[in-house]
Each structure stands twice: as C-alpha cells, then as structure tokens.
Amino acid sequence: MIKDTVLQSLRELFPDPEPVVEEAAAESAEGDTAEDDKKKAAKKKVEPRVNGVIERDHAQYGYDIDVQLDPGELLAAVMILDKAGFFLECVTGVDWIKEEQLEAVYDFSRYDFDLCRVVVRTRTSRSEPKVPTISKIYPGAAWHERETHDFFGIKFDGHPHLVPLLLPEDADFHPLLKDFKP
C-alpha cells in the first residue's frame, strides 16, 4: 500500500514526534460526534493548527493524508510525493485572517488504483506571505501558483514568471483575501 510508505516517509520530516501524536489524537477525538467537533472548533478557532501528519477518513473528507509543515520543508515533502509517482491536482490558498496567516494548499493524487489523496499545507505570515515554488519539480504548478498569487498575494519564491494569470495584467489587488473591498 502506497499510503503506508508515504505516511512513513512524511513522518520522517518531523523529527520531534511529540506534538504530532498529540495533534493526531485530538483530531480523531474530535471526529467522533459532530457537536463535539463544532464546540471544539469554536473554542480554538484563533489558535493555528500545529504542524504534523494526520490520517483522514476518505469517505468523510475526500482525502487520506493531511500534512501541515513549515514552508522550508515543503520542497522535501513534494519531492517525496514526486518520487512516489503522485500527480499534482491543484494548488490553492486559504486566508485565515483571525490567525493572521495565509495557507497554501497542495493536492496530490494518483493515476493507479492504489487510491491515496494527499493534501500538503503550509502556513505563512499574512503581512509578508512567502512560500517556495514547486514549479521546478512539477512544472504544472506554475499556473496554479500564479493563480494563487493573483487571488491571495502569496509570493512563490523562485517562480519563473509570477505575473497575473486570471486577473488583468496590471492588477494590484487580491480578491480572495477576507479584507478585500472591491
């Protein structure tokens, strides 16, 4: 099973396993009942998620592995997935305005019948959002990163051509930021 191998190699990116285990336990407890989930989500809304690897139920969430890491470790994780034969589904962002953070989300999936969807997330500060580009590994990411830069203003370090793709070429606004006013 590819899921176990990928899980194994992704876990190696986190040398200090203490917070990871804690987070995973808290997450699985949350999933038990919907009400519990809501209560807890409301309580710790402003506290950003701790980095780590979480296994998700595919039927409930639509993906199997959920990884959050620092921007510095992003390339290492993507290289693991590239070696394992994953294809890049899409790249996008989420604006967590209450936590003063922007999140870049990378979706990976497989062509074979060994179903395993991996979501890689990385968070960066809202004032100076910077994430390394993965377009050197997956050239298809170039368009997705340009789109994410359009909508969120996340700067992809090392991107060969980071100009607006979907927005007008002189656009200096980022419409999907939560404090965007047209």
Partner: protein
C-alpha cells in the same frame, strides 16, 4: 510533415492566436513566437472571461451557488453540478435516495455524450470537415430536448439538489432514452465510417501532438488527455462515487500519445456512456427522489472537504473549507481543462502552427471553465 527544425534566433516574429479566433473555441489567447510556420515558444494568456466564481461561492449560501456551477462548462454542465452536490452532501452528511443517484448517473452520462458529440463536430470542423458537425448536432439536439423536458433548461442545468433532484423523470423520458441508445450506436458507426479512416484526418493527427504519460503527471492532466497517453485513470473507477460501482463499463485507453489517440478515447467513451445509460434504465429503482430528512439550512461542520468527479473533460474537484456557517469559508474549483491546457505551452514547442491548433482541438477546451 513535422520534425525537428533548426531554429535561428533573431529571425522570429510574434503571432497572436486569439483572443477572438475560431480555433480557440472561446476567448483564449496564445502568444506564439514563430520561426516561419514553426512555433519557437508559446505563452498562453488567460483571464478574458474570468468571473471569480470562487468568491461568489464564498459570499453566497450553498444552494445559491448551485446555478454557478453549470456556467463553468456549458457543454457538460451536469457533471459539474454533480460534483458540487456530492461535495456538499459529503460535508453536511446528507443521504441521497438510490433512485436519485441513478437518475443523476443517467443524466450525467447523457450530458457526457452530448458534450463529446459537440466536441467531435467542432474538432473535425477545425480540421476542415464541415459535414460531421451537422450530424453531431442533430444527435446532440435529441439529447438536449430530452434533458430540457426534465430539467427545464437546455445547457445551463440546475437539476440536482442537495439530497436529490428537482424533478423526477417520467415514462416519456425513459422511452426517449431507450430509443436514443440504438440510434446513437448507429450514428457512432456512421461517424467511424465517415471520419476515422479519412486520409486527410489521419495525416493531420497520427503521430502529431505528442503528450507523454510523464508530461501528464507533471502537469496534472486528466480525462481523455491522460487516457490518450496510456494512463488508465478515470475517477469513476479509481475513486468510485455515486452509483458508478454498480455499472459494468470499461475505460478506453490508448497509448499512442498523439491527437488521434485522444480522438479515439472520446469516441469509445460515448459507447461506454451508452452502456451506463442502458444499465441505469434497466436497474432504475422506484422510490423517492428527495430524502425524508434534510436540514432546512445547510451548515456543514467546520472542516476541509474535497470531492472529485469525472466530467467530460477530466477530473473536476471541489474543495469546501467550512467554518460551520451557511456560507463556505473557501470554495475552490479545480477545473480539468486548466491543467490540460497548462501543458500546451511546453507540448507545442517546435511544432507547426496548424499541427498545434489540431492538438489544441484534441484537448477539448471550454474557456469559461479554465477562467472560472
């Protein structure tokens, strides 16, 4: 016909294909640096009909976004609305009655045939053959009339609801769908005899426009583009959803990697869709089309949900990040042609311009779906 050419720098000129060009099937622009008739470098320019559906998804409630989804891809709209209802049903935990799922599968497959038919006509017209378009449109019209009777619209359907359907199908629809299957099979034979063996058609497609499996993986290409490169990938089989596991159908795969392979994949897919429709009509259970218990206000619990479906153009994905309110916190649409088109810049380098345009046709582009 094609082949590597020695390109002399400094002797190139820039050619703008589009934004208003019949071969791009919409407002798409490709800036091409040309050396004679050969492409040195191409840069696709997007965004001419960008409408920010993702922001609309954030400031409207879930049911209010439903009509938006069919405006993405006006040729295969039902596949996209299917993706949205499945995503919200997954997030909010809504049960769907079996009859509704069967009707969804039947209508999605009818829509897929209609989409492929239109692509077939337009693609052959790109290559200079006008007549097949007329035949294809006639068959497509039959499907559109049939769908119009149950959904109420011809192209931009809003037929599915969270948990079921807007409207049950009647006996007339079933009769017409049953009559359509032998008719379409006859037409497919006709198209094959009319087009597939045509010498001009083959010379323009065979061995031209190579897109390898590795390139598909690096760019995230899916659908007929990936299947024409020998990748056996179909979300209906790889990540089964709805009632597709109940159906017996094959995934056509060709490993020639050229434009002709992508043509063959789509032509074979129509036959497989007919098989699904046939089985769906045979197995169609009785029962309600909406669940008994359904929340009045849809508020999925906080979380991050993803749903992929196989549309006529490839794997379409929806990501819903919910914060527990009636609006989505983040609403991401992963459109298949966006990824399929992104490999065009690299794939067309060194090709002749008319071969590149034939390859562009074989990608089956729908521009509103790229720009969203």
């Amino acid at each position: 016909m094609s082949g590597p050419i020695h390109i002399q720098p400094g002797e190139t000129f820039t050619l703008n294909v589009g934004p208003q060009h019949p071969a791009t099937h919409g407002v798409l622009r490709v800036k091409m640096e040309m050396d004679g008739e050969y492409i040195v470098k191409a840069e696709t320019v997007l965004g001419y009909i960008h409408r920010m559906h993702e922001l609309m998804g954030e400031n409207r409630t879930y049911p209010q976004v439903l009509p938006n989804l069919s405006r993405l891809d006006y040729l295969g709209a039902l596949g996209y609305t299917h993706g949205h209802v499945l995503a919200v049903e997954r997030a909010a935990g809504i049960e769907v009655p079996e009859r509704a799922e069967y009707i969804r599968a039947i209508t999605v497959e009818l829509n897929r045939v209609a989409s492929h038919l239109f692509w077939f006509g337009a693609f052959v017209m790109d290559l200079g053959g006008f007549t097949p378009l007329m035949y294809a449109i006639e068959d497509r019209e039959y499907i559109l009339d049939m769908l119009e009777a149950v959904t109420g619209s011809r192209l931009t359907y809003c037929y599915y609801r969270f948990g079921g359907l807007y409207n049950d199908i009647d006996d007339e629809f079933i009769d017409r769908a049953r009559a359509f299957i032998p008719r379409m099979r006859k037409s497919l034979k006709k198209y094959d005899a009319l087009v597939t063996g045509n010498i001009i058609f083959r010379k323009r497609l065979e061995g031209i426009g190579p897109i390898s499996a590795e390139m598909c993986r690096k760019y995230g290409a899916t659908g007929p583009v990936a299947r024409g490169a020998g990748i056996n990938f179909d979300v209906r089989k790889n990540e089964p959803y709805s009632v597709y596991p109940e159906f017996d159908f094959d995934v056509p795969v060709y490993d020639e990697c050229d434009s002709l392979a992508r043509y063959k994949v789509r032509m074979d897919e129509m036959e497989q869709s007919l098989r699904i429709i046939e089985q769906g009509l045979d197995k169609l259970p009785d029962g309600p089309i909406m669940p008994k218990k359904k929340p009045k206000l849809i508020k999925p619990p906080a979380g991050d949900y993803y749903q992929a479906v196989e549309t006529a153009r490839g794997s379409f994905g929806i990501r819903i990040v919910s914060d527990g309110t009636k609006n989505a916190y983040r609403f991401k649409l992963r459109s298949p042609t966006y990824s399929n088109m992104s490999l065009f810049d690299e794939a067309c380098e060194g090709m002749m311009i008319m071969d590149a345009l034939a390859m562009m046709g074989s990608l089956d582009l729908v521009i509103p779906e790229i720009d969203r």
